[in-house]
Symmetry: C2
Subunit: 409 residues, 2 copies
């Protein structure tokens, strides 16, 4: 089985100034071709250090994918390091140079002199056509395949697609398939206990568990002699996990809670409006992350002040006076107001204290009320989130989406 190693190049990555997102997406893409990543290295912008890591990666794996250092500035030296590793010279490629000239011409920008250096690649190597200004590099060396991609994530993403057919051919006939279940509502260790020995190491399929912003992802990784059998194994395991977890599972693949909700809304032909206080637009942003959201989302209010709640959502002033803006009563009125004004089938209201200031003994930072209002009733939830402003806002928005999901059934 062919394996891959990833080498990420850049002082800004090593120094933590930029988070390396390329290693993650490349690992997923490579896994999908049946070339699992077995090691990953990060190295600064120094030729000899890069060559050293290329040697390490070469001894780990058959495919080495490098990102970063293909830009036009003086700290971009991946081209030189590749040439040194391969023991060849850099050479100017006229067709790359022409593509660069065309790139700037099409944008009506004069080409900076600095960019010419991007038209050089190691002698004997192929180039991957640039989508930004940086072309990529493909080279073969002692039975290994070396690929260099730009560090800019969307460029690396688009340009990697170009190499996939060649990589598939190189990988031969292996099959690893991964499917993912997305859960919300309980913690990682509770879910792990529910699943018991399904999460043991060394199994095939293997079940891994990751958590991000309260969303638990179960990764089912199955291998078999061909893709169909591996998919079959994934599907069978998925069915078993769903039986154990029930309603905790909201979706699969890369699905977000907003996407799960939007599917249900679209299917049922229903619409949703939002009334946000402490989340300040985050819930609406999540709902409109999805293309086509105008089919079910049309109206949102961010009513950060009491006056905004009173004038825009018709929340009675005396109710705020009596119970405070962060209360079950006000959450209900906000949701009802949003539903009435928008004519939507559902409305979600969120009011809370995101912090770090603004809390009191009775109403501490992290206290949030969420209301889902609909024809015939409303669901209200009192939540208490710890761990800061961003955490509280994210969890509040996710909890609101999950309440709507459960109401939609």
């Amino acid at each position: 089985m062919k394996q891959a190693s990833i080498v990420t190049i850049g002082n800004e990555i090593l120094a933590g100034l930029t988070v390396d997102t390329n290693a993650a997406f490349l690992a997923i893409e490579l896994q999908n071709i049946g070339i699992p990543v077995v090691s990953s290295y990060t190295v600064g912008d120094e030729i000899d250090a890069i060559v050293q890591k290329l040697n390490l990666a070469s001894s780990d794996a058959d495919v080495i994918v490098v990102t970063g250092g293909l830009g036009p500035t003086d700290d971009d030296i991946t081209r030189q390091a590749f040439a040194k590793f391969l023991g060849v010279e850099l050479e100017l490629r006229e067709e790359i140079f022409q593509r660069l000239i065309d790139f700037f011409k099409s944008r009506n920008i004069p080409m900076p002199e600095k960019n010419k250096v991007q038209a050089y690649i190691p002698s004997g190597a192929e180039y991957i056509p640039n989508v930004g200004t940086a072309p990529g590099i493909i080279a073969r060396n002692e039975g290994k395949m070396l690929i260099a991609l730009p560090g800019v994530p969307w460029e690396a993403d688009k340009m990697f697609k170009f190499v996939i057919p060649e990589l598939k051919e190189f990988a031969g006939t292996q099959a690893i398939e991964v499917c993912r279940l997305k859960c919300f509502g309980l913690g990682e260790s509770v879910i792990a206990e529910m699943l018991g020995d399904k999460m043991l190491r060394g199994r095939n399929p293997l079940v891994n568990c990751t958590v991000h912003d309260g969303i638990i992802t179960l990764h089912i990784v199955a291998s078999a002699e061909n893709s169909e059998k591996a998919i079959q194994k994934c599907r069978e395991e998925e069915k078993k996990l769903r039986e154990v977890l029930g309603d905790l599972v909201y979706g699969s693949g890369d699905e977000t809670l907003a996407e799960a909700v939007s599917k249900k809304l679209a299917l049922q032909g229903k619409t949703i409006a939002t009334a946000e206080s402490c989340t300040g637009g985050l819930l609406s942003k999540m709902l409109t992350d999805i293309s086509g959201s105008s089919n079910y989302f049309n109206y949102g209010w961010i009513t950060y002040s009491n006056k905004a709640k009173i004038t825009q959502l018709d929340v009675p002033a005396d109710l705020i006076e009596q119970y405070g803006a962060v209360s079950e009563q006000v959450a209900k009125e906000m949701a009802q107001g949003a539903r009435k004004k928008s004519g939507a089938d559902f409305a979600i209201a969120i009011t809370g204290i995101a912090g770090p200031t603004g809390g009191s003994e009775q109403k501490p930072v992290g206290l949030v009320y969420i209301c889902v209002d609909y024809d015939g009733g409303c669901d209200v939830k009192q939540c208490f989130f710890t761990f800061g402003r961003e955490f509280t806002r994210l969890r509040a928005a996710h909890t609101a989406l999950n309440m709507l999901r459960q109401r939609l059934g």
Copy 2:
């Protein structure tokens, strides 16, 4: 000078299922203590593979910081790998066990049996008190310092702070200081050309350039015999860069465009309202990411449909009919409506086609109109963004904030 190496543990990281954000924040924290990161490794949940990477990291550096694999599930084996690397046994620590029991008791949750394993650490090692359920580990081995932290980012962050005094003592008297300038409005290579040989490698201070969502960050890294002198070097370089870049620089450090704008609003005692169509709440979310935003932000409207624009922001229906919802005229009316209804000093409106569908020949996907309305006039900008829905929404929100920043002066 002491140096550090980071080892990230987890199949989910190696497989790309989770993006490794810990390596980045740890590198920054370590840099700030004067211990630059010189290498970084990612490895799966396999004891021998982890031990091998610990050996590699040990030969690179004096401080090895490991994250991940301290959870309660069967794939969490960092404890075992640490013990094997150190050549000692794991032992149950009563005080850690008691902290775990207390942790669950304070949350009124019965402690799952699985969590007991987290109370074991290698014999002779110290523990770092848990903030979630996982305690960390500190061990000394052949003059090197080994630190294990949980993979959950906020836990790792809080627990690393606990180790800082010990690390500072270990580092001795080195001084590296980093300051950052944040720019918006032009591309990376144009800025690099403006800066010329200030970006050459090997300089002290060194200037690195990174880009994220159109925000260009210039990192000035200075080293000197003490912190004061290093800071002085940073400050002098910063002044020179500011002279060259002028208004392109909107802030420093980790400052976001929203923070830069919010400072100006607070300083001038002005308020802002928002009227969003294609950004669907993102601009408001950015403004309310900031604690204390209720001082200058109170009202926001998300008017995704024509009817919402007409009923909530008093945009004349015939104007939409004549020019379309994505037009300079409608952007102006939305902003005026939001400013009138909110009584705010400024209002920003954004209307556009985020895509991927909904475009036409006259109005292609990526076309966005932004208007900043104020007493005495308005600024309107027609933008054309490529590269997809998320990109378009982010750039539109950032461009809107930058327009407001420039208007505030």
